[in-house]
């Protein structure tokens, strides 16, 4: 955690501590004022994405998805529903597949974020990308980065034991074009290669 963030925590915690003293002896229904009357201004966060550092000045409300798309210029991660219901925004944080739309960017300081732009090394495609291409595991392509990030994680998790298992563990990624059978075939193939 950067010195910046630590200082903010200490300030907040101190304010909270004062509040705590005030609380003692009070009835439960009276609660003290929040520590900051004014909402927080923009804060500095350094995102570590695909091995590169992105120092960003962000509103604390910003989701990781919006920080990637609107500020870091990484538009490969898609916004499908912005409410955690479609999986198009799937990225890896510290190696686990998660939803960037439900993640505050400000909570990502110090974490290793991988997006579709960083899944493959250089010009070589990741085996899951290659398999999606050959099995036509997509049509419009909009859910595809999320599907591929999810599929790559699924293989690492070991949830590739059968087609039925792949289907269940890919059910957090909606494909409205209906490429599911091809997606399953692609992941099955990539898992055999890996």
């Amino acid at each position: 955690m950067s010195p910046n963030v630590t200082r903010r925590v200490v300030l907040a915690a101190t304010a909270g501590g004062l509040v705590l003293h005030e609380r003692i002896g009070r009835a439960d229904d009276t609660t003290p004022a929040p520590p900051s009357a004014l909402p927080q201004k923009a804060i500095d966060v350094e995102l570590r994405v695909n091995g590169s550092r992105f120092p960003l000045n962000i509103d604390p409300r910003t989701s990781l998805l919006d920080a990637l798309r609107e500020q870091a210029g990484l538009t490969g991660t898609k916004k499908g529903c912005d409410r955690g219901a479609c999986g198009a925004c799937t990225v890896h944080i510290d190696g686990r597949r998660v939803l960037s739309c439900l993640t505050l960017a400000a909570r990502c300081q110090g974490k290793a974020i991988t997006t579709i732009e960083g899944l493959n090394a250089g010009e070589d495609l990741h085996p899951v990308q290659t398999a999606f291409l050959h099995h036509d595991g997509f049509q419009c392509g909009y859910c595809t980065p999320g599907q591929i990030m999810s599929g790559a994680a699924l293989i690492k998790e070991g949830h590739d034991g059968s087609d039925a298992e792949i289907r269940e563990w890919m059910s957090g990624n909606i494909c409205r074009c209906g490429a599911y059978p091809n997606i399953v075939a692609a992941i099955r193939d990539a898992s055999r290669e890996g």
């Binding site: 955690m1 915690a13 909270g16 439960d28 929040p34 993640t103 505050l104 269940e168 957090g172």
Partner: protein, 325 residues
């Protein structure tokens, strides 16, 4: 989303202290709270990020299971002791949401997720839970997914957690903490409140109080437990009806019997009427059918959700059959 101050403490005591301020909410995995913030259903002045405070241990031993509040759903579901000793917990978790959500969502956050009632989640509707006194259009409205048990004239919103149903069957205890107070323990069966005339108050949590751990006692019944979730979609959907059953059967006789249901109640719903009908009885198919026919006594359907009465009984029966097989 309205502006808020984000506090990121690294110690639990700091988090509790900050969390005691007015208009402040804890954020754990964020999978539900972020939705509510984006939809302006929640508009706190401050968020306390619990990520830095640890609280993510999973401990299983002879004394039972202790899940700290920040333990991730996926980690708990994958835990070998959980799968062996409390399978209903692992099954309920793996039937929840999606793999990505389970990688983010925490045990504490899961138990505190808000209802999926569409009227609650859209500020374009009136809702007594969101704006007390504004009315409940769901009761006469689109209520297929809503509760048939525990509702009032003010609210029939379904409790959405699968995990809470499993924990209700297992008589789990929640450990709660608040700055300045000694930690306290509350059985999960006493944790959730019925909506009554105050549907905005959903639990016995006091202002500034948080769940720090879930404690599940060991039992023979827990080792033989099972979760069944019925839904329209094969995956990634909240329950229409779910059932959690834990059975200790010896010589064909039911010794310890716990049955709870989800998707039907305004809180996770324990079914003592079913348990009583089976305790000390031979668990043959007739007994299971007779007992499950009692499930959901006192149900008050609102219209579109009337089928849940029948479905509840059949879900309970099937789960009893599975667990006693």
């Amino acid at each position: 989303m309205q502006a808020f101050h984000l506090a990121q403490p690294t110690m639990l005591l700091d988090a509790l202290a900050i969390g005691n301020a007015a208009d402040t909410k804890f954020i754990a995995g964020g999978t539900d709270l972020m939705q509510l913030l984006k939809d302006n259903v929640e508009t706190p002045a401050q968020l306390v990020d619990l990520e830095g405070v640890g609280l993510s241990q999973i401990r299983a031993d002879a004394s039972g299971l202790r899940l700290e509040a920040m333990a991730r759903m996926s980690d708990v579901a994958a835990h070998l002791d959980v799968r062996a000793q409390w399978p209903v917990i692992a099954q309920a978790l793996e039937a929840s949401a999606s793999p990505q959500v389970r990688n983010m969502g925490t045990i504490g956050g899961n138990l505190l997720q808000r209802t999926r009632c569409g009227y609650f989640r859209d500020t374009g509707f009136n809702c007594n839970k969101r704006e007390p006194g504004s009315g409940c259009p769901a009761i006469a409205g689109e209520n297929r997914m809503l509760a048939i048990l525990g509702g009032s004239d003010h609210c029939i919103a379904t409790h959405a957690s699968d995990l809470a149903v499993a924990l209700t069957a297992l008589d789990a205890v929640l450990e709660l903490r608040r700055a300045g107070d000694a930690p306290r323990q509350v059985p999960i069966t006493e944790f959730y409140r019925l909506p009554g005339t105050t549907p905005q108050i959903e639990t016995v949590l006091r202002p500034g109080e948080m769940i720090t751990a879930v404690i599940v006692p060991p039992s023979a019944a827990a080792r033989n437990s099972h979760y069944l979730k019925l839904r329209d979609r094969a995956s990634f959907e909240f329950a229409l009806v779910s059932a959690a059953v834990a059975l200790d059967v010896r010589d064909g006789t039911g010794r310890d019997i716990r049955v709870a249901a989800g998707g039907v109640g305004t809180r996770p719903w324990r079914l003592p009427e079913v348990e009583a009908a089976l305790r000390g009885k031979k668990l043959n198919d007739d007994a299971l059918r007779e007992a499950s026919s009692r499930a959901g006594e006192g149900a008050r359907p609102a219209g579109q959700n009337a089928f849940k009465q029948i479905l509840l009984r059949r879900a309970v029966l099937r789960t009893l059959q599975t667990a006693s097989a």
